[in-house]
């Protein structure tokens, strides 16, 4: 077995435009890693790189011992699913939106029982038939989180998953989500501006700031 396998991601000498410089970074499997740092510092860019939505100009990202370029991008994104900062809503009702992640990634859609559980999981008291257009920003954010939760991926990349939620709801949902991911041995990598989330849930905190002239 390769020694590097313990690390889910291994980043070496990464450069992306003048947005992101990372000399060395390791992200461990089955852990909760929080990424913090100032706005515009390239946190979202890093998540997009791990999900292979962007390729670095220089350097390498290794996932499970293989460079991202050796992975089929689609297969990779089905294992390493990313939740975007702006919750994406597709045309249709809540049921269709919950199942759409599974449909897009070519998994079997789930029955209503499972979908209702997911809604409870993110504290969303809505009917499956409700149109998503009617939902508020915070409700959409929770629906999007429930959607990727139902996809059951190995790695969750979450870009500010609770930014539109009040403290109480944030705590409830994060409690449930982290408990679930520990139970199922998931890897969670999360960008957040919350003060409490890194303190309460992170196994590791990474700070990413704007690259300066004399980088690290």
């Amino acid at each position: 077995m390769k020694k590097g396998l313990f690390y889910m991601f291994h980043i070496k000498n990464l450069r992306y435009k003048d947005i992101l410089y990372i000399d060395k970074l390791k992200i461990e499997e089955k852990q909760v890693t929080c990424i913090i740092g100032q706005s515009g510092g390239g946190k979202t860019t890093l998540l997009k790189m791990l999900n292979h939505m962007l390729s670095p100009d220089q350097g390498e990202i290794v996932y499970k011992g293989r460079s991202l370029f050796e992975w089929n991008p689609i297969a990779l994104r089905r294992e390493v699913v990313m939740l975007s900062q702006q919750p994406v809503m597709f045309e249709g009702n809540i049921r269709e939106n919950l199942n759409f992640g599974r449909i897009l990634s070519e998994k079997e859609p789930l029955d209503d029982e499972k979908l209702k559980e997911a809604l409870k999981f993110v504290c969303l008291q809505k009917k499956l038939e409700d149109d998503v257009e009617q939902l508020s920003g915070g409700e959409k954010q929770r629906l999007a989180l429930a959607r990727i939760f139902l996809m059951d991926p190995e790695v969750f990349l979450l870009d500010e998953p609770t930014s539109a939620l009040d403290k109480g709801t944030e705590e409830k949902i994060m409690d449930a989500f982290i408990r679930y991911s520990k139970e199922k041995e998931k890897t969670v990598i999360m960008v957040t501006h919350s003060d409490t989330i890194p303190k309460t849930y992170a196994d590791k905190v990474i700070t990413i700031n704007k690259p300066t002239g004399d980088n690290q």
Binding site: H52, P73, I74, R78, Q86, R147
Partner: protein, 266 residues
Amino acid sequence: MKQEVINIEFWRLSAAYLFVLILILLVKKREIKREKLIVLSTARMTIQLVLVGYILMYIFKNPSPWIVLLVLCFMESFAVYNIFKQLHKPLSKKLKLVIVLSMVIGSLVSLLYFNLIVIHFKPWYEPQYFIPIAGMFIGNSMIGITLGMKEMIENFATQKNLIEGALMLGAKPDAATKPIVNSAFDSAILPTINNMVGMGIVFLPGMMTGQILAGTSPLVAIEYQIVILIGIAGSVGISSFLSLQFGYKTFFNDRFQFIPQNGKEK
């Protein structure tokens, strides 16, 4: 039954321009500044048609496959040039190539089928048939491709989040763009389909009117009209489908990453 067409004498033809003068007076009175445009358009229309009349006269008298092919090439090039111009946005080389191929393949396939099998005139290059039919197929395909591409490119720009959101979840590019590509195809073919619905009731199409004025029996005229309309629908459908089906792929790189600027960015 067949009667000679009345030839419009020169002075009568000139009398038609009286109506252009009336139009100019009307806009002047309303103070809409369109006099220049009206004069320019009328002049262009006149010159272009006179030229085409003489050129067609020459081609009909000296039918040659080479000249017909030359005309065909000219029409295809003009159509492609027009599409590029209408789309305004800078297009990547790949997308331009897709548009050229879709335009040519879509119209040629329909043209070959309708000329050789449905209407089956001989020789295959008989300019009297070949040129007007090619003009109608190519012109309509041009409009179809333009409408579809415009819609797709615009929606790719405005709905970037939706496409990227789907990709992040592991969607293949075709699944991530399906709603946009489908609605673009719809926009491309809808005018052609709608045109068929009103046919003969709301208006008599230009080609049929021309044939009837020229003394053709209305029954023969509708035969041609039906054939041409179906041919146009086919040509528009095939070219628009090809342009969108291969066009959307130019917005993704080989790592299935979405490039909304279509290759303009590194």
